[in-house]
Symmetry: C2
Subunit: 106 residues, 2 copies
């Protein structure tokens, strides 16, 4: 016994897990939801006014979303304008679509 059928988890699934993990926090989800509505963008200052976290905490969350590729920031002194990274957003959308519709594919 103790056969080695162990697999290495694929890069695809690791990548999706990274993205999903980045989405798995109420504050970050709120930001993504807000940005995905229309082609809205927003400033850190707007978000810190409405969200129940401090500036530095919010900055961390934005950093994580940026690192995961879900958003991007354009410097627009003295602000930074954050928008969805539409390309990666579309990729994420497709990943989730595949996951949730796997039972309907032949």
């Amino acid at each position: 016994m103790e056969m080695d059928n162990k697999i290495e988890l694929s890069e695809d699934i690791k990548e999706m897990a990274r993205i999903t993990k980045a989405m798995g926090h109420p504050v970050r989800l709120y930001i993504l939801q807000k940005l995905s509505r229309m082609n809205a963008c927003c400033y850190s200052g707007d978000l810190v006014d409405e969200l129940p976290v401090g500036r530095s905490t919010l900055s961390q969350h934005l950093k994580e979303l940026k690192y995961a590729g879900l958003i991007q920031g354009e410097i627009e002194p003295p602000y930074i304008k954050y928008c969805l990274n539409r390309e990666n957003w579309k990729k994420a959308k497709e990943m989730f679509h595949q996951l949730f519709n796997a039972d309907q594919e032949l």
Copy 2:
């Protein structure tokens, strides 16, 4: 200054974050992916053979998915058969659909 426009994050978004968080790990995503294909169910023993984690670790992951409502286990001595919780899976699917298609709604 220092207006109190702070919102409380909605239960909806917190709930979605809980679910998303539960999905945000490669092992858990692998399990969900596997279960969502066809009406497949599986046993902890099958999974531990293929996944690069120990039995107790796998058990924890299954517990988390169960707690998040994404899977359910039926006792089938001496095994436990794990299947998707189709009802909640559908809810999750709709949540993600809304998030990713928010820009296309009127």
